[in-house]
Amino acid sequence: MRTLTVYVDGIGVWAPGIADWPALQRVLRDGDIAARDVEGNPANAKPAPTILPPTERRRAPEPVLLASEAASQAAAMAGRDPATLASVFTSTHGDLAITDAMCATLAADPRELSPTRFHNSVHNAPAGYWTVAAHCNRTATAISAGPASFAAGIVEAASEVAADGDAVLLAAYDIVARGPLAEVAPSGVPFAAAFVLSPTRSAGSLAQLCVYPLQGAAAPNALTSVLAAFAANPTAVQALPLLVALARRAPAKVTLASGANASIAIEVAP
């Protein structure tokens, strides 16, 4: 794999106590998530992305809410109309809440399965809702690569940027596991991040990313203590080291597993 070079033009983040990218930068600076920002059980927290129609803002499946919130933040920061952006949506587990509920219904009486729940169960539901809300006819791809889902998302989005010469939106998310699935598909806290990646540097570019294959295994990425709780989310485990590097505004190298037997390096240059 040759080096893929892209520029970060926008960043979105959503997690309990971290409402957006400026909030994450504050948390890193202060070394603390303000208690007022985490009300109730963080596992139940969810955003209300304004890009969705009001009826869907609360009712849409959690992955749709998380991915849409982070994605619209990133597009706004990049000054891009979401309708113009091709997109990649990546998640380790997909919609664990719907999978749990759907499998429980199917075990009890499969004829009771709700049509809405079924069409919301597809892995590309966040991509589907996003393209409808954003009036976006560009390609949208939903992917998964197990624990390497975020790294695979970076590689896929950077490939589309380089191959098609246009900016691409990458949205990554995982929600909290429910029911019997929690033991085999663990995820203890919701988290979403999004990036607008573009092929050329512009005045608004935050950093250059050079993505290339790493010989040997990725170094373990320990999360700083203030973010340690997010180690329970498989997307956060891979995305936060990159976000922290971007927040430092200094050259850095982040290494991530990109498959069962493969790793990538991401060189960050402000």
Binding site: M1, R2, L4, S91, T92, H93, G94, T99, M102, C103, A104, L106, A107, D109, P110, R111, L113, P115, F118, H119, S121, V122, H123, N124, A127, G128, Y129, T131, V132, A134, H135, C136, N137, R138, T139, A140, T141, A142, I143, S144, A145, G146, S149, A152, V155, E156, S159, A162, A163, D164, P180, L181, E183, V184, A185, S258, G259, A260, N261, A262
Partner: protein, 398 residues
């Protein structure tokens, strides 16, 4: 408009479905107008419909070394990859290029969710039963993890899960990776299996026919669901005789989760982009394998687009009457059908259909036709308004 791409060689391909194991069985059934749909004998709770079931998977456990991955979807993958020497061709490519230079891009909508469903039917208190307490099964990436372990690839590996366009879009992902030098070759796989989620889910949406599906028939009343495994090995150069991927188009309807855009906006964009990347005009196309699910709305929209974009010169058919709608595997299964039609010079019938939707009566082949095909398209349009059209060209004659 995207710019023209260099063709990509399809050095090997195979498919297994209700029509049988491998290319020979697939071509024989298509040339004999023999369908694979039969009465539903899969669900425990009765559901009167036709299904396209692959026979014998129940008695084909994975080899001991891969027992962790054992489930219906990965069994079908292992069964399918053995056909037509595909496994050997894939291993030879890994040997030739190096494991880190071969991408593994898979498409699936069901993945191994059948195993999750089974676990919920047999809960041990509030836990999955011990035999199914295996993380590699309960993930959208189960197919990718299994094939990555079985093949030993160390290049990029990902699952595309965009419902019914999943295993069409994997061709586009592979083309970009190879063009950019991210990989020298890609092993593509699309595998979907019958499970309660899709059978009862599509039934809840009132999209399942009680009979064998009849694409583009004026009396069509819904889909029949099937299962399939398809594989392709793509590389930059390859044998001159190998067929080529010459274009693709990907788009979004931006309209509704489970209803197509009424004017087929996304479908038109996908078609236009596929032709642009291939450097082709609509009149260059000899054959189109249509998405043709046989739901009233899907086929109505696709028929209108077809009639609008293509002249009566093009031949088109939908083959889901043979195999059922194999969802996440449909893209690559129908790519394989299209490549076989090109290789053997025939247009497959639109099986089970009698009276063609008037809009496409001129283009639609209800009956099988013997004719040479040099350039062909395959359409895959799915949930979430996810569209993909692939363009293929025949290799240099032998």
């Amino acid at each position: 408009m995207p710019t023209r791409i260099a063709p990509l060689a399809i050095s090997a391909f195979t498919a297994t479905s209700a029509l049988g194991h491998g290319r020979g069985a697939l071509a024989d059934a298509l040339r004999a107008d023999r369908g694979g749909l039969a009465d539903n004998d899969f669900t425990r709770v009765p559901l009167p419909c036709a299904i396209g079931r692959v026979a014998g998977l129940e008695s084909m456990p994975l080899p001991e070394a891969f027992a962790e991955y054992d489930c219906r979807n990965n069994r079908l993958a292992w069964h399918g990859i053995a056909a037509d020497g595909f496994l050997d061709a894939a291993r030879a490519a890994i040997e030739r290029y190096g494991a880190d230079r071969v991408a593994l891009v898979v498409g699936t909508s069901t993945s191994a969710i059948g195993a999750t469903e089974e676990g919920y039917r047999a809960l041990d208190g509030d836990r999955l039963p011990a035999r199914l307490r295996r993380p590699v099964l309960h993930t959208p990436h189960s197919l990718g993890l299994f094939l990555e372990a079985a093949l030993g690839t160390r290049g990029p590996c990902l699952t595309v899960a965009t419902a019914c366009s999943s295993s069409a879009k994997i061709f586009a992902k592979a083309e970009r990776m190879i063009r950019l030098g991210t990989a020298d070759a890609a092993i593509l796989a699309g595998v979907d299996t019958l499970c309660d989620s899709v059978l009862f889910g599509f039934n809840a949406l009132e999209l399942v026919s009680s009979q064998r599906c009849r694409p583009f028939d004026t009396a069509r009343d819904g889909i029949s669901i099937g299962e399939a495994a398809g594989f392709a090995l793509v590389e930059r150069d390859g044998d001159a005789r190998a067929p080529r991927l010459v274009g693709y188009g990907e788009s979004s309807d931006a309209y509704h989760m489970s209803t197509p855009h009424p004017e087929g906006r996304g479908a038109r964009l996908a078609l236009a982009d596929a032709l642009a990347r291939a450097g082709l005009e609509p009149d260059d196309v000899d054959y189109i394998n249509l998405h043709g699910t046989a739901t009233p709305k899907n086929d109505e929209v696709e028929a209108a687009v077809l009639a609008d974009v293509f002249s009566a010169r093009v031949r088109a058919s939908a083959t889901k009457g043979f195999t059922g709608h194999t969802l996440g595997a449909a893209g690559i299964l129908e790519a394989a059908i299209t490549l076989l039609a090109m290789e053997q010079g025939f247009v497959p019938a639109t099986l089970n259909s009698r009276d063609a939707e008037p809009a496409v009566a001129a283009q639609l082949a209800i009956e099988r036709e013997e004719r040479p095909i040099r350039v062909a398209l395959s359409n895959s349009f799915g949930f979430g308004g996810s569209n993909c059209t692939l363009a293929f060209a025949a290799g240099t004659p032998h």
